[in-house]
């Protein structure tokens, strides 16, 4: 049963990822991205990381994808004629992307992965303890980064009074 659902979620994820980069309409791409991120969260549940799955849905789908949908307002309207897509460019991009995938797949399948340790402490208590004891500096720097990102975004997009 778990295998069947895993295969279904994998197929759905690959299909929506292809839709997220393939369609011409930018709104279809944004919604397909939301579906892909949901499927990635399900894969995280298969990998015993339930907290990360919840965080992925809250942060990615709930904030980032919605911000991207707001930014779709900048695109030209869909009833206008779309500019011409060069088929040579598409074939070139497919070749490069498949080259990347083939190299990675060969490396993954050839490696002799060491003995596997699946048993461990996946709980949130342990995660919180590690985050605030061992990686506390990274944690504090990360909150600074978020503050700087917000300030930088506001600074960049500010309306200047001296320009017309």
């Amino acid at each position: 049963m778990k295998e069947i659902i895993f295969i279904g979620i994998t197929i759905l994820m690959i299909a929506s990822a292809v839709m997220a980069v393939g369609f011409k309409s930018i709104l279809y791409n944004a919604f397909s991205l939301m579906l892909t991120l949901f499927c990635v969260a399900v894969i995280f549940i298969y990998l015993n990381a339930e907290f990360i799955a919840a965080m992925e849905i809250i942060i990615y789908v709930g904030a980032i994808a919605i911000a991207i949908i707001f930014a779709v307002m900048f695109s030209p309207p869909l009833y206008l004629k779309q500019p011409y897509r060069n088929p040579i460019k598409i074939i070139r991009s497919i070749c490069v992307a498949s080259l990347v995938f083939i190299v990675l797949a060969k490396a993954i399948l050839k490696t002799n992965w060491p003995t596997q340790e699946i048993i461990g402490d996946y709980s949130i208590q342990h995660l919180g303890h590690v985050l605030l004891h061992r990686y506390v500096i990274a944690f504090e720097v990360f909150s600074l980064i978020i503050l700087l990102a917000m300030l930088g975004a506001l600074m960049i997009a500010r309306q200047r009074d001296d320009h017309a």
Binding site: A17, A20, N29, L47, S75, I108, V130, I145
Partner: protein, 103 residues
């Protein structure tokens, strides 16, 4: 198949290559942003898969992935404000029209 690490790593590699294809092919700036999000998600799946199968302390991979997710959020913020500024200048978000530095 679910107990092997190769399944999840191949899945992450597939997401990454689909994101690379989107990054190379799309002209719309929002399309590029979406492709970057796919690449980052591929890397996140990679981290969590290695965390389950190869690492003794099970919190380390999750910490890395939390940082990746948060940094993706910060990066989308800055990218969207740059897109806003570029739109004010060029009045379009087609990246092939942003060639002022070209000879």
């Amino acid at each position: 198949m679910l107990e092997q690490i190769q399944t999840y790593l191949l899945l992450a590699a597939l997401l990454l290559s689909i994101g690379v294809y989107g990054l190379l092919e799309r002209r719309n700036l929002i399309g590029l942003l979406i492709s970057i999000e796919l690449i980052l998600n591929g890397a996140s799946i990679n981290f969590i898969a290695v965390n389950k199968f190869l690492i003794a302390d099970k919190a380390i991979g999750q910490v890395f992935t939390l940082f990746i997710i948060g940094l993706a959020a910060a990066e989308v913020t800055i990218a969207l404000s740059i897109i806003l500024l570029l739109y004010r200048r060029m009045n379009s978000i087609n990246i092939e029209e942003a060639d002022n530095l070209k000879q």
